[in-house]
């Protein structure tokens, strides 16, 4: 048995303290305690990527992160992506290319796309597929998502949001 403890961490730049059992999932804390419902639960086992968020700027499946490991760290969710220049470009390109349909996979797709483009600002189709491999979508057939990511990469390079070249 465990007891509830206080965990403090930053979410989208704001300090939050929650009282929670240590094994509680970051996903539940975000959705239930903080009511940030942008991240979705599609499977609860790290297969679908719908719950992806940034933990200390690294993409994670929030359904697989116990809150005990989040103490003192930084979380960023889809709700804050508009304030990130690359996130904003991706959001616009997902709209323009119809990369979002039902909308459940979209937040995770955006997080994965940011992760990919930060590492590789000129991805090939195969590299985009690899970068989004952990995010399942049942609506789009993926192609419009690939198009959105490739287009966003180009615009981000042109605007100087991303440097050209591969890490």
């Amino acid at each position: 048995m465990s007891v509830k403890k206080h965990y403090s961490f930053l979410v989208n730049g704001e300090n939050h303290t929650v009282e929670s059992y240590p094994a509680n999932r970051l996903l539940d804390v975000l959705r239930e305690d903080l009511r940030l419902t942008g991240c979705k639960e599609g499977c609860g086992e790290g297969e679908c990527g719908s719950c992806s968020v940034f933990l200390d700027d690294v993409m994670v499946n929030s359904c697989l992160v116990p809150i005990a490991q989040v103490q003192g760290r930084q979380v960023r969710t889809v709700e804050a992506l508009s304030s990130d220049p690359l996130g904003k470009i991706l959001q616009e390109k997902f709209l323009e290319h119809n990369g979002a349909q039902c909308g459940i996979c979209t937040p995770g797709m955006l997080v994965a796309a940011i992760t990919l483009l930060r590492r590789n600002s000129q991805p090939t189709l195969g590299e985009i597929q690899d970068g989004l491999a952990g995010n399942l979508c049942r609506c789009t057939g993926y192609k419009k998502i690939f198009d959105a990511v490739a287009d966003a990469a180009q615009v981000a390079r042109e605007q100087g949001v991303l440097e050209g070249g591969k890490a």
């Binding site: 994670v60 690899d130 952990g134």
Partner: protein, 292 residues
């Protein structure tokens, strides 16, 4: 059905020494928790039998990939992402990079660790066949010090390993030697995000035109990593040209002897055996085409 959260406790020590003391004081009480990419899945599925976890994430001693002239040491908390993009590993131990790249996808690779992949003991894990093929050594740490053994001897049965309750996996070490050829193949249902039906890692090392070392190992086709020792022995001493002319039927037979694939939800034993043999035969017959 998911497990009941209050039943589970996670302790987060600041220092490795403290954690090792805790493990020694209560042997078997704590289950080490690294990236959670397996333990949390089991937890979410309601099948988690362990109740008390010891989170390792704060221990700097367990992070990182350290390179010397003789060897590469991969510490237990190195993530798949760390492995995948490491320049020395890419150049000298590419099968590990490939295994890491094919273990789940980005979010899993960012959290999943090599120590977890080993310690979890799954026969379907993707990095152990590469470690076995490369002849890695594994280091285990307890409050009494470090114990090392060949990785091939570490797994003793299905989800069984030579790991004492007071020990943690500190890392694995790989000998840096020139002249290696490598072939890593993973067969899954989908092109990505699939647990292996068969995973194959094979390497040979050449000196003066002859094979002096061979490492050939399978995942997902036996209770532990399946090492093809007979086939390895067969290859040692041959030139690549001689090896590539070995009778494919004999290669398949030798490869098949070291594995015992079963039917499960991901594939049939028959398919696995057939594919495993095909992969070995393909590797051997194409040895001359592999680049050093």
């Amino acid at each position: 059905m998911r497990a009941y959260v209050p039943d589970f406790d996670i302790t987060v020590p600041d220092r490795l020494d403290d954690a090792l003391k805790m493990l020694a004081e209560k042997p078997g009480f704590y289950r080490p928790l690294a990236g959670g990419t397996d333990l949390m899945v089991v937890f979410n599925a309601g099948h988690q039998i362990y109740k008390n976890f010891l989170s390792l994430h704060k221990f700097q001693e367990l992070h990182g990939i350290h390179v010397t002239d003789e060897e590469v040491e991969i510490r237990a908390l190195a993530t798949y992402t760390d492995l995948r993009y490491h320049p020395i590993l890419k150049a000298e131990f590419p099968m590990l990079c490939q295994a890491a790249a094919e273990s789940g996808a980005g979010a899993i690779q960012n959290r999943g660790t090599i120590g977890g992949n080993i310690g979890n003991g799954s026969p379907a894990a993707d990095t152990p066949p590469a470690l076995a093929a490369y002849g890695a050594e594994i280091d285990l740490i307890s409050k009494d010090g470090v114990r090392s053994l060949p990785f091939r001897n570490f797994q003793t049965g299905y989800k069984q390993m030579d790991l004492r309750p007071e020990e943690l996996i500190r890392g694995v070490r790989l000998k840096r030697k020139s002249g290696r050829l490598h072939s890593y193949r993973k067969v899954g249902t989908r092109k990505a995000q699939a647990i292996s039906k068969v995973c194959f890692a094979a390497t040979v090392r050449l000196e003066s035109g002859k094979i002096v070392e061979a490492g050939i190992a399978y995942g997902s086709v036996a209770p532990t990593v399946g090492c093809c020792e007979k086939l390895e022995q067969k290859l040692v001493g041959l030139s690549l040209a001689e090896a590539s002319k070995l009778d494919p039927m004999e290669v398949k037979k030798l490869a098949g002897e070291s594995i015992s694939p079963i039917d499960d939800i991901r594939s049939s034993g028959e398919y696995r055996l057939k594919v495993a043999k095909n992969l070995a035969a393909d590797f051997v017959s194409n040895l001359e085409n592999l680049n050093v």
